[in-house]
Assembly symmetry: C2
Homo-oligomer: 259 residues x 2
Amino acid sequence: MYKKLQVQQNNLLAAMPSELLMCLKPHLELKSLSLGQVLAESGGLMRYVYFPTNSIVSLLYVLENGASAEISVIGNDGVVGISQYMGGGSSLNRAVVQSAGQAYCMLSRRLKNEFDRNPVLQDLLLRYAQSLMAQMSQRAVCNRHHTIVQQLCRWLLGELDRLPNNEVKMTQEIISNMLGVRREGVTDAAGKLQQAGIIEYSRGRIRVLDRAKLQAMSCECYAVVKQESDRLLPQVQPCQMALELDSHQAEPWMYSAAR
Amino acid sequence: MYKKLQVQQNNLLAAMPSELLMCLKPHLELKSLSLGQVLAESGGLMRYVYFPTNSIVSLLYVLENGASAEISVIGNDGVVGISQYMGGGSSLNRAVVQSAGQAYCMLSRRLKNEFDRNPVLQDLLLRYAQSLMAQMSQRAVCNRHHTIVQQLCRWLLGELDRLPNNEVKMTQEIISNMLGVRREGVTDAAGKLQQAGIIEYSRGRIRVLDRAKLQAMSCECYAVVKQESDRLLPQVQPCQMALELDSHQAEPWMYSAAR
DNA sequence: GCATCTGTGTGCCATAGCGAACACAAACTT
DNA sequence: AAGTTTGTGTTCGCTATGGCACACAGATGC
């Protein structure tokens, strides 16, 4: 019962030289992540780190009053739990599964051990950390200067890059938590995009019809961050696998505290 | 002509065990940084990294249209140029000297070399990188959810922590570039704080009279980030040296592109 | 088939922050 | 001492977004 692991499905894993991968493989396990699952709480320890394949995880910063904002997105391009190898142990961000799917997971401790010993792994993971920082700083400016429509476009593009198809399964309510705006704001923005024929949506399902136009209406942030990520991690490729979605429900409290 | 270096003036340096410090010391040089000096351009390489003592450096993200926002502040608690040891080489942020003073500087390459060889140094610098990330993610939420007054308070507190006295030398125009808001917005907020007897200011000089009240009016962000930094880097202490300010002028273009 | 829940549409008002224009006074220059 | 530059105060209108309340329709369950 030795399962064949298709580690190519995660770009960080795929970018590792085979000796290194041999080292890690015995410790990797493919797990299913369900929608809304919380992989890490703000300030909490993580026993495991996760390399998503077809799942998507959001790092959220949740304020005392329950308001929130997405700080970065992690899909098949990255790993959830960088504070585990950076040495801090925990971070201020909550990690929530935003799109159900699978991820290779591994004991944090093992990754840290290997990280400390292997310069190649170190370089790779630190570059990834840097690309996360690029995302974070972009969020800060974007939140300050760009409109909801622009941000929705940027956000959708980020999702598309991490999904096998052009269909984002997400209610406007949840999107609003990601963007840190009102649900009505999202309804409004999504309405505009739909009228422009760029997307088509109904009840928790957004289909992107015209990616080019979406990019045109997005703020510069998407392109800038994408380019920086590509620079830092040359091998990133679009996700090609089939997507299996659970029908698990996300509880509101997973995204924001009680109001 | 061997100058005695008071490396305790920078907390990262001060936190290093003495063997390590012995290693680095020959390569450290104390330099004066003048107001508005650009230490790193977005996407540009850095020949040197800087450990500020009594100077303060801002990391800014500047948009295509010239609008900007401060992503994080670096004073005697940190180092400018983390992308140099993280392996990315450059970052998306511009590093601008915001408060003139001095910094220990060192060839990036040397720091990277030592970083790769010395686990203690590595741990220290990676923890610092993590505390920067905490700052960044806080900025993102703060920009989204908090008022200008709250943010001004938070920002002033951050400055105070890195200054030897309670006087921030900075025009409202420049502060507005940091917060990513209009100058008038800052005038307004500062006016309110002055009326409340919390600060006192005139023409590029803000004196903080009541730090406690300032903290009370600030958003939670200040405290959260401070606490996280303290957790990650236990030894941080307030800056005690005398501050020598140059009278160099900052040109507007250092903060934001031509409009 | 009926009740219920959940996701979306809409309208109304309040307000924070933007853009622009301009007045004024402190500081610097000569 | 006079002119110039620089930093701040103020005003007016505008827009994006927030808060709230509620209607409505697709989905789900009994």
